[in-house]
Each structure stands twice: as structure tokens, then as C-alpha cells.
Amino acid sequence: MNPENIKYHKEHTWVKISGKKATIGITNYAQESLGDIVYIDLPEQDTSVEANTELSEIESTKTTSSVISPVSGTVMEVNEDLAETPEIINEDPYGKGWIAVLEIEDESQADSLMDVSEYEKYLEEEAKLK
């Protein structure tokens, strides 16, 4: 169910690189852990974001949680649909539930992130630790 053509960050976000564009969202595991999402604090356009720092904040009925950016770049586009209907993230975390598109300088910065098999192994290990 986790797609193969994207990269995964250990804070349960994903990134899809296409040229200088990096589309970012949260993983299925993240949306399941959060539960029903009721609000997302969307980043503003043109703000620059460092990898491994907060891109956005999500509020669910259970908790609030930071969305950690897997890459560094400048916010080009945000998913405005989430402002009114943040539950799209629960329904389609890898598709319509994307959060933002960053313009990135260096496409290779995603190379160090996990691919799908590494991420799934990571999830299994995390589960064992609990």
C-alpha cells in the first residue's frame, strides 16, 4: 500500500521528487496513528524550510503533531483543499492528501532518505520497540 516511487523520512513523511519540485505529505502510518485529522496549519508560500524541521502542524481528534520536512526548499504551492477538508489526508495520504510542494535546489538530497522497503522494515522495528 505504501507507494514505491517516493522516498520516506523517519518522521513518517514522504517526498516525491520531480525535477526541482518536491511534493510532500505524511505516510499512511502517520495518518493512522494520528486518527481523525481536524486541522492542518498549512505553510505559507515562499517560506523556506530546512530538512528535518517543521513544515506544518496537524491536529487530530487525539493529538497535535509536527509535519517534518524531508527536504530543504521553498514552499511553491500548498494544498488549499486541506484548509476546509483536512480529512482528505486520512482518506488519501499519498494522493489528494499531499500537503505542499517545495522548490528544491539539490535533487540529490532525497537520496539519503528511505525507499519503501527500508521504510517498511523501519516500521516493523519501531513496532518491536513499543
Binding site: 481536524v38 486541522y39 496549519d41 502542524e57 491536529e59 487530530s60 481528534t61 487525539k62 493529538t63 497535535t64 520497540l129 513499543k130
Partner: protein, 462 residues
């Protein structure tokens, strides 16, 4: 013992009643209306507006509660103001009734200190009267501070006094100053339908609060589409025919129907005759008092905003009680170490004791407990899940140093912690106390337990 009290706000009227309770013969002089800023132009009228705004919000979202509403939900500002005025009048009558019951004489007029034993009063309905007295308690309060280059005009450039009496809901409102007053009005007028922008010199909204709390409030502003521009100054203002154009220090301009200036309070210590008795004032005009609330002149006391201390109604009241006690021969000392405060935004904010940064600056080794309202069943039942309870404790002895709450009924919840801080209770004392279910107060218990990583409704920390 004869005592004259100048000003009948929450400092003065409480001082008057306390002094009468202690057997003094008391005269109160007030040039506007008893209850002062708090009752007539502050705490109470804004809370009446907040209540209307909350009712409107509930009505707009009534579907969430499974109730169908046929028809529009429309705020009627005239009716809202009528309700507010009625509430204020009830309280005013209440204070006048208390005065009567304690045999306190009230003179409606402007008082002027002639000597330490005499106040001349220019009565409202003409004439003058002189009050002979043994002691004086000055409680003349404060007023909205204005920006000299664009003073209040009551039409387009508003003070918080004006903002309580607008006959039309402005299409757009620019608020200069995102402190307590600015933020309360921002939520009120946004709910009523105005497009609201706030500009603030400091890095954020309610910057006197704990940083984590301010950050959550800013998110709530964003949710309601209240725009906050921080770290900015207003350069100048141009009054247009139907709007006001505001020029910001970054070159931006903002056009709004009205501008509310809420940059703080100015002290009312001029033209009351202080110079006749040599009472000393500081740079802002604040009357200088000792911890017995006495000025440099024996038998002359000052309390509340006019002393420029913690400008809160309940602080003024406490100071009034101390001054009254001392005026009749007591030896009471004011303690300002534990003063809870509340902000009636949506959701509410309340705090007591030290903020996280303050505690660290003072050299404490601290532990913090946090609990989110959204983990409480009661908060979900009420439909108000946003917010956080944060307790700061001394790691060495487990004593509670402070607490900061943003969330539903924060202003009521804070007092459990205020008592704890005041009495030096520990985190364990609160955690060990059974709290009724289902209540918001359970959040206090859980936040206390979280200080020790043992909250039941918080997932295991990694």
C-alpha cells in the same frame, strides 16, 4: 476614622467596602460611574460581547451538535449592545447597593486633593462639595493609551472604550497592538463578521504569555482567518472618506474601515491635586507606593492601575483591601507573587506563576507536564478540543512554579494551580487528588501526572 476614596473602580470600591467593614466612615468620589474601567469599559462589557460572540459561533456550527436550524444566524449589534449595557447596569446597581448597605457615601463628581485632609469635589450635577478626611486612598485608574500622531476620534480611530459601543459591525478592522485587549476584540469582531488584521511591534500575539501558549493562540487566529502581522511598526495613518489607510514600516499599506488602537494603558494621575500634597510619581505618571500601599505622604494611599503595577482588576482589589486595612491602623503587606491572569480569547488563556523561560532564567531546574484538551472526553462532548495545559515544576522539590492554560474555561481552571503555587504544593499533591469525571479539571490532574511521565491518557513517550 474618616476615609475618602478617590475613584470607584475595582481598586477603590473594594477599598471603600473593606474600610467600612473595619469601622471607618467612608466617602467615595467617582467622576464617571462606580465599577470604573473594569465594569463600565473593560472586563465586564467585553465578556458580555464575548458571550454573544460565543453564542453566535455555537449557532453557526449548530449542525455539529445534531441540531437543524432553518434560517440565517445574524448578529444584531444593537441588541448585543443592549444586552451588554443591561449587564453593566445590573453590576453598577449592585455596587451602589453594597455602598448603601455599608453606609458608604458616594459623591458623583470629580475629586481634587486640596490637602492630605481635604478633597474638593466638583459635582456632576453642578456645585461643589468639600470632603474632610483623615486618610485618602487614591484609585483613579488608567485610560486607553493613544498614539500622539493619530489620536482617538471615536469614529475611525477607536479606543477600546469606543470599540465597546460601535453601532455597526465594521466591514474591516485593523487592530494596532496584539496584546490582551487587541486579541480579545479581534476574536469578537471576527466572529461578528469583520475582516480583522492585527499589527504588532513584538514578535507575536500576547507576547507576555508563555511562548508555547502564544504559538497556539496564533494558530487559533489563523484558523479564524484573523491576520497577524508581527515585528512591525505603524508609520502613519491617513483618514479617507470611508476608511483608514495605515502605512507599515515594511512599506505595506492596509486599508480598513476602522482602526482600533490597543497599545496599552495610560495612568490617570494628572489633575487630581497630587502636587498639593507632594505625592511622588514615576516616569509614566504612576504613583509610587510602598508594600503597604502608602505613598510618601503619611495617610495617603494609592492602589490599582494608578500605581502602574500589575494592571489587573483583581490586583487592584487586593491592593485596595491592603490599603483599607492599613488606613484604619492595620499593618498589612501586599503580596504580588501569585497573581492569576486570564485572557478571553477563543479559546481562553490563563496563567499563574512562572513561564518556562522565566523559570529557566531564574536558574530553576524544571520539569514540565503537558496535557492536551483533545485527550479529554468532556472536551469532545463540548465540541471544544483545542488547547493545552502546561505545568512547570521545580525538579528538585516537585513544587509547582507556574501553569499556563489555553483552552475552554482556562480562566476558571487556573485557580487550582494558583492555590497550589500560593501554598507551595507539589505536583504529586495535585496528581494524587481525585478529580471528578468527566470534567475539564481532569486535564489539570493529567498535566500534573505528565510532569512525572505517568499521565494515563498520554501515549507512552519514546
Amino acid at each position: 476614622m474618616k476615609i475618602a476614596v478617590l475613584g470607584a473602580g475595582p481598586g477603590g470600591y473594594v477599598a471603600a467596602i473593606k474600610a467600612a467593614q473595619l469601622g471607618a466612615s467612608v466617602t467615595v468620589i467617582e467622576d464617571t460611574e462606580v465599577g470604573g474601567t473594569c465594569l463600565n469599559r473593560g472586563c465586564i462589557p467585553t465578556k458580555a460581547l464575548v458571550a454573544s460572540a460565543e453564542a453566535l459561533d455555537k449557532a453557526k456550527n449548530i449542525h455539529d451538535f445534531g441540531i437543524e436550524l432553518n434560517g440565517d444566524v445574524i448578529p444584531n449589534i444593537q441588541k448585543i449592545l443592549e444586552r451588554k449595557n443591561k449587564i453593566v447596569n445590573i453590576q453598577v446597581k449592585g455596587i451602589r447597593g453594597l455602598f448603601k448597605s455599608w453606609g458608604i457615601k458616594i459623591l458623583d463628581g470629580k475629586g481634587f486633593i486640596v490637602s492630605a485632609n481635604k478633597i474638593r469635589v466638583a459635582l456632576k450635577d453642578g456645585g461643589a462639595e468639600e470632603v474632610e478626611t483623615d486618610k485618602i486612598i487614591i484609585a483613579t485608574g488608567s485610560r486607553p493609551a493613544q498614539i500622539p500622531i493619530f489620536p482617538f476620534d471615536g469614529e475611525k480611530i477607536l479606543s477600546s472604550d469606543d470599540a465597546l459601543n460601535l453601532n455597526n459591525i465594521p466591514r474591516s478592522l485593523l487592530i494596532i497592538g496584539a496584546g490582551v485587549i487587541g486579541c480579545e476584540f479581534a476574536f469578537i469582531y471576527r466572529e461578528f463578521g469583520s475582516e480583522v488584521t492585527m499589527v504588532e511591534m513584538m514578535p507575536g500575539a500576547v507576547s507576555t504569555e508563555d511562548e508555547e501558549i502564544s504559538a497556539i493562540l496564533e494558530k487559533e487566529l489563523k484558523k479564524r482567518k484573523i491576520k497577524l502581522i508581527a515585528n512591525i511598526k505603524v508609520e502613519k495613518i491617513e483618514i479617507k472618506e470611508n476608511s483608514v489607510l495605515t502605512f507599515l514600516s515594511d512599506g505595506r499599506t492596509i486599508e480598513a474601515e476602522k482602526v482600533l488602537v490597543s497599545i496599552g494603558r495610560a495612568i490617570n494621575s494628572k489633575d487630581i491635586g497630587l502636587e498639593n500634597i507632594g505625592v511622588k510619581t514615576g516616569q509614566r505618571g504612576e504613583i509610587i507606593v510602598n508594600d503597604k500601599m502608602e505613598t510618601g505622604i503619611k495617610g495617603v494611599y494609592a492602589v490599582g492601575d494608578v500605581t502602574g503595577g500589575i494592571m489587573l482588576a483583581h490586583m487592584a482589589s487586593k491592593e485596595g483591601m491592603i490599603a483599607a486595612e492599613n488606613a484604619v491602623g492595620g499593618d498589612a503587606v501586599i503580596n504580588r507573587s501569585v497573581v492569576p491572569s486570564a485572557i478571553f480569547t477563543s479559546p481562553e488563556i490563563a496563567s499563574v506563576g512562572l513561564r518556562e523561560k522565566q523559570a529557566l532564567d531564574k536558574g530553576y531546574r524544571i520539569k514540565i507536564g503537558r496535557f492536551q484538551f483533545r485527550a479529554l472526553g468532556k472536551a469532545h462532548a463540548m465540541g471544544e478540543i483545542s488547547g493545552l495545559i502546561k505545568i512547570i515544576a521545580d525538579e528538585q522539590n516537585d513544587k509547582i512554579l507556574g501553569a499556563h492554560i489555553i483552552g475552554p474555561h482556562a480562566s476558571d481552571l487556573i485557580h487550582e494551580i494558583a492555590l497550589a503555587v500560593n501554598k507551595g504544593l507539589t505536583v504529586k499533591d495535585i496528581a494524587d487528588t481525585i478529580h471528578a469525571h468527566p470534567t475539564l479539571s481532569e486535564g489539570i490532574m493529567e498535566a500534573a501526572e505528565d510532569v512525572h511521565d505517568s499521565a494515563i491518557h498520554v501515549p507512552k513517550k519514546q
